[in-house]
C-alpha cells in the first residue's frame, strides 16, 4: 500500500502519519507538496492535521484551492480511499468533498486531550477492521472542531449512516457530557455518500503505539491496508 500524505504550508502532522504508515505498518508513504499535480500512484490519500495557510480566513478555506486538491478530488470521485484528519477534515469540508462546516469550539478554547470515540460505521475503508460500536481512545487537538450542518443535512447523514465516529464516554454512552466541542449529534467524523472519503477531528495517527499512551488509532490504518489489499485482489 502506498499512502500520499499531502503537505500544505502549515501542516504539522504529516510526519506522524508518514511514521505510522512506514514504521508501524511497514508500508510505503510519500509526502506530496500541495503544489504538486500528481499523487504519485498512491492507493490512499491522507490530508494531515495542522494549520494550512495559518488557518487564515477560515480553516481549510485557502488550502482547498491548492493545485494538488484537483487531483485529490478526482481521486475521491473515482471512489478511492481519502482520509482527512483534523485540519485535513476541515479542508475536505471546504472542498465540498464532505458536507458541513466547522465552528469554533463552544468552550472557545483550543482543546488538547484524550477522548473516547465510538465507531458507528464499519463499512468504510478506514473502519472495516473495527467491530461495530467499538470505542477507541485517541486525542483531539483543535480550536475549531465544532461540527455544524443544517438540521436536514444532519438528518440525511444519520439516515444514510454517514456518521462514522461519535464522541462518547469510556463505556460508549453518548451524551452532551462526552461532547468536547459542541459538535451537533456528538459527531467526531463522517464519510461521503460513497463511503470512501472519511474525515475526523481526533488524531488516530498520534495513538498508534502503546508508548504514546494508546494504540487505538492503529485500527484505522490497518483497515485501509486491508481495504487496499482486497480491492487489488478483486482487480487482479
Amino acid at each position: 500500500m502506498k499512502v500520499a500524505v499531502i503537505v500544505f504550508p502549515g501542516s504539522n502532522c504529516e510526519h506522524d502519519a508518514e511514521f505510522v504508515v512506514r514504521e508501524v505498518l511497514g508500508q510505503e508513504a510519500e509526502l506530496v507538496w500541495h503544489k504538486d499535480t500528481s499523487l504519485h500512484g498512491a492507493d490512499v490519500v491522507l490530508l494531515p492535521g495542522g494549520f494550512a495557510h495559518g488557518d487564515y480566513l477560515r480553516t481549510g478555506a485557502i488550502a482547498r484551492f491548492s493545485p494538488v486538491m484537483r487531483e485529490v478530488e478526482r481521486f475521491a470521485r473515482a471512489g478511492a480511499p481519502v482520509i482527512g484528519i483534523c485540519n485535513g477534515f476541515q479542508v475536505l469540508l471546504e472542498a465540498g468533498l464532505l458536507p458541513g462546516a466547522m465552528l469554533r469550539n463552544r468552550s472557545l478554547k483550543y482543546q488538547c486531550e484524550q477522548v473516547h470515540v465510538k465507531v458507528e460505521a464499519t463499512d468504510t475503508p478506514f473502519t472495516l477492521a473495527c467491530s461495530p460500536g467499538q470505542v477507541i481512545r485517541i486525542p483531539i487537538a483543535h480550536g475549531e472542531g465544532n461540527y455544524y450542518a443544517e438540521p436536514d443535512v444532519v438528518d440525511d447523514l444519520e439516515r444514510k449512516r454517514q456518521v462514522v465516529f461519535r464522541y462518547c464516554a469510556a463505556d460508549g454512552s453518548v451524551s452532551d457530557a462526552s461532547n468536547p466541542n459542541g459538535s451537533v449529534h456528538n459527531i467526531a467524523g463522517i464519510c461521503s455518500e460513497g463511503r470512501n472519503v472519511v474525515g475526523l477531528m481526533p488524531h488516530p495517527e498520534r495513538a498508534c503505539e502503546l508508548a504514546l499512551g494508546s494504540a487505538d488509532g492503529l485500527v484505522l490504518f490497518e483497515s485501509v491496508l486491508r481495504a487496499v489489499a482486497e480491492s487489488s485482489r478483486v482487480a487482479r
Binding site: 478555506a61 458541513g100 462546516a101 465552528l103 450542518a149 443544517e150 459542541g182
Partner: protein, 91 residues
C-alpha cells in the same frame, strides 16, 4: 473602485464569540446590549469599468472564497464615488 464585503454567521448558527463579547459587555454594565454577532469585513480595491462589474466581481469572490455558504451569509456595499476622491463621505 472599492467594494466592502460583510460576512456574518447565518442567524441559525450559534456564535460563541459573539456571545462571549455580549457577556463581557453585560459585565461592563451595558445591559441594553441584548445580543452581539461577530463577523468579518473585507475591503476590496477592484479595477473594473462600472459599478455593476465591481459588484459582480465582489459577489463572485464572496461566493467562492470569502464566505462559506454552509454557515455564513454576506452583504456587499460598492462605493460609487469618483475614483481617487479622498474622504469617506459618510456622515
Amino acid at each position: 473602485m472599492r467594494a466592502r464585503v460583510y460576512v456574518t454567521l447565518k442567524p441559525s448558527v450559534f456564535d460563541p464569540q459573539g456571545t462571549t463579547v455580549a457577556d463581557a459587555l453585560h459585565t461592563l454594565g451595558y445591559a441594553s446590549v441584548k445580543d452581539v454577532r461577530q463577523g468579518k469585513f473585507f475591503e476590496l480595491d477592484i479595477d473594473a469599468a462600472s459599478v455593476g462589474d465591481v459588484r459582480r466581481i465582489a459577489q463572485e469572490v464572496a461566493d467562492k472564497l470569502l464566505s462559506n455558504p454552509v454557515i455564513e451569509s454576506y452583504r456587499i456595499d460598492v462605493e460609487s464615488g469618483v475614483q481617487g476622491q479622498a474622504g469617506e463621505g459618510s456622515r
